[in-house]
Symmetry: C2
Subunit: 428 residues, 2 copies
């Protein structure tokens, strides 16, 4: 089936700013709450939120096999479970109905009033009921940087790293949508030179500049997904800030990996941008230094996406400080390799699973995806516009991730993934 929704020449009858992340070629999916307390699945064009529950009820999806309540839900899981054919039919139809040439909804004020909201009048909610959340560690630059700081130059990149996309299980319950404030976590840390830990709030709250992809059910327990088939099971992507407390992490992580240093919160952007919308931005992955085992060898060379990423620190005075400019294409391991590896042992992937990229760092210092790397473990503070310094984040700091793809014809963006750090909650 053609992805007609991607036609770069298409214009919408809804007004769209030229630099928007959400032209009619994007058509992402999210869940929002209206002022009338209605929760619905929706999409976005420019500064308009579109209620797909109402859109469906009013007949605009007629001819597409969909359950009646497919979009009148508080998560996208059922829609994602329907599979790629449905995603494509639905996205193509939305593009048609909002096409400048199509008058059906444009000329129906009553329907427009029911379906279309100003973005300022809706509250974005978590778009999926996350099943399992896995975080990969697929940026060679990030793994090398962190390895050097935690274990020294000799042991920076572990022997397994070039042979497999290393990953660990994360925590689903603490995944929150952009805009949710994050409380500074308490925990145990080991002061330098000491052998006994102390208790207190983390002094090293950090971001991780990541993306994540969302899956549809892929395999039964015991079965695996072939690397070249993995694409079938990826619905779309979000920006992802995997908040980290480096001092807690450093003391706890041996031998079973990160736990409380990570699971106090992870923030995702509210709109899931589909793989279909990102298709024009496929590009080549970095050359792999070691030929991986056959189950990780992928046929297609354009196995990654050119997605520009930024991390910005907004201080309480409103200043925006650019911390990092990175790109999804820097990742050494592709999403299809990640999924093939994840399932090679028979681990089953369900609808709504979220799979993080790991921190995406580039080769140069201004492209590092965490404060740990940007300030080299706090040794090289960043000087902000207001003259203050940061090694890790202060209470009151807001971290904003942004991401977009752009070519001569169109820009497809993710909007913002934002979270403000608040002081810890008093202990009981």
């Amino acid at each position: 089936m053609q992805i007609t929704a991607n036609n770069p020449d298409r214009k919408s009858w809804l007004h769209v700013n030229k630099d928007t992340d959400f032209p009619i070629q994007n058509i992402p999916f999210g869940v929002f709450l209206t002022k009338e307390d209605i929760i619905t699945i929706g999409t976005r064009i420019g500064e308009y939120a579109i209620d797909l529950g109402a859109f469906h009820q009013l007949g605009y999806f007629d001819g597409i096999p969909l359950t009646d309540d497919m979009f009148m839900q508080d998560s996208l899981n059922d829609f994602i479970a329907d599979g790629r054919k449905t995603w494509r039919l639905v996205r193509n139809r939305i593009a048609d109905v909002f096409d400048a040439e199509n008058s059906s909804l444009r000329e129906n004020k009553k329907h427009r009033d029911i379906i279309i909201f100003d973005m300022n009048d809706v509250e974005m909610l978590l778009p999926i009921d996350v099943g399992d959340y896995t975080d990969f560690y697929s940026s060679k630059e990030h793994a090398t940087n962190v390895g050097m700081m935690f274990r020294g130059k000799e042991n920076a990149l572990m022997p397994n790293w070039l042979h497999m996309p290393v990953a660990y299980h994360g925590r689903s319950s603490s995944i929150v949508v952009s805009g949710t404030p994050i409380h500074r976590p308490y925990g145990q840390t080991l002061p330098i030179g000491e052998t006994t830990p102390v208790f207190g709030s983390s002094k090293r709250v950090d971001m991780e500049l990541e993306t994540a992809f969302i899956t549809t059910a892929a395999n039964n327990l015991g079965e695996s997904i072939a690397v070249d088939e993995a694409w079938e099971y990826i619905f779309g992507m979000v920006l992802f800030n995997d908040w980290s407390a480096r001092d807690i992490q450093k003391w706890e992580y041996v031998p079973l990996g990160p736990f409380l240093g990570k699971n106090f919160a992870s923030t995702i952007s509210p709109w899931i941008v589909t793989m279909d919308a990102l298709e024009p931005f496929r590009c080549e992955s970095p050359k792999q230094e070691i030929t991986p085992l056959p189950y990780l060898q992928q046929e297609r060379k354009d196995s990654t996406y050119d997605i520009k990423l930024e991390a910005i620190l907004k201080t309480e005075n409103g200043d925006l400080n650019l911390l990092s400019k990175s790109n999804f294409r820097y990742l050494y391991w592709s999403m299809s390799q990640q999924l093939a590896h994840h399932t090679i042992n028979g681990c089953n992937i369900r609808t709504g699973d979220m799979i993080g990229s790991g921190t995406i760092s580039g080769a140069t210092k201004n492209s590092f995806g965490s404060m740990l790397e940007l300030t080299w473990a706090g040794k090289e503070p960043i000087i902000l516009k207001d003259g203050t310094k940061r090694t890790f984040f202060n209470d009151g700091d807001t971290v904003i991730l942004q991401g977009s793809c752009e070519n001569d014809n169109v820009k497809i963006g993710f909007g913002k993934c934002s979270g403000k750090i608040l002081p810890p909650i008093n202990l009981k």
Copy 2:
């Protein structure tokens, strides 16, 4: 509220074998499928499965505030979410109705035929929709044994271990109910003395003799649970076999912890035994060698439970070979300490989260909870009844975990947690 269901003098009008795990004092909760394709929440007395959906519809819970469909569900999550008061009211009522002195159901053949099934006529299903699954590592003996094998005697117990209950995130999707066969996983392993990994099916499939507890929603994101309050949020326990592929694990686990070496399957026993039923078996935890930080200091001394555990290998000829005899009380860290630690950073616990103990090993070799320890990394094979040897498990082997508490008055058991290992599924 009194736990009248625990009255040791109570007898049921249902016939119960003397050595059953499920006397009327147990009243565990599970989910089963009948031959008429009805899925319901149920309990068990002796060799009878009791349909609590029908029990409720026929009025036997009258007077207890419950939603109409509370038990006509395919998971216990809604019931667990209702909290401890409801659990206790429901369990007390079931004990009353099946008490030998109570004739209401006993004398109503029509109702009995609807409510009561022979255990042989039902199929047990996964009793909960697992949210997040966390696995602790709370047996000092196990952590020391594994540490010695993986890292040598000097680094066996990591410096953090005596200061905190170390844990990591596991995989929820691959948690299956007892009786589900497990396919041997494929993966990468590093042959001894080599620097390049090879691909194949695991040669070191192992069990982990564990228990797990199931929670009700406990805290909002950012809040923590005090160690002495943690008990409020624990619904009950199951036996838990956290299958492990030691060769895959060894190559992959640095630096982020176990992943594919674990997430191919974990098996739980089908009946959740409530903490109320286990209350008479509280006992003292091992003395902690280092006073933990205040948030881990618990008031009550009887912070663990005397639960005898066994691991048995059933070979294809039907022989039962006892592999290990251990006890839940050997664990160094208590469940309340685990929950307090898990939430000290504000990580939110939801209804249906499953929290594993980690492998429970005792001090002597016959009490070790994994083949890794029992055969000392494969160096000391076990000789079975049929004369064959095992280091790790063969295809066709069935691993059975059993657990029970017993005092002069009553025995409360968990039934079986069983899984048979099948050959790997052919790769696509």
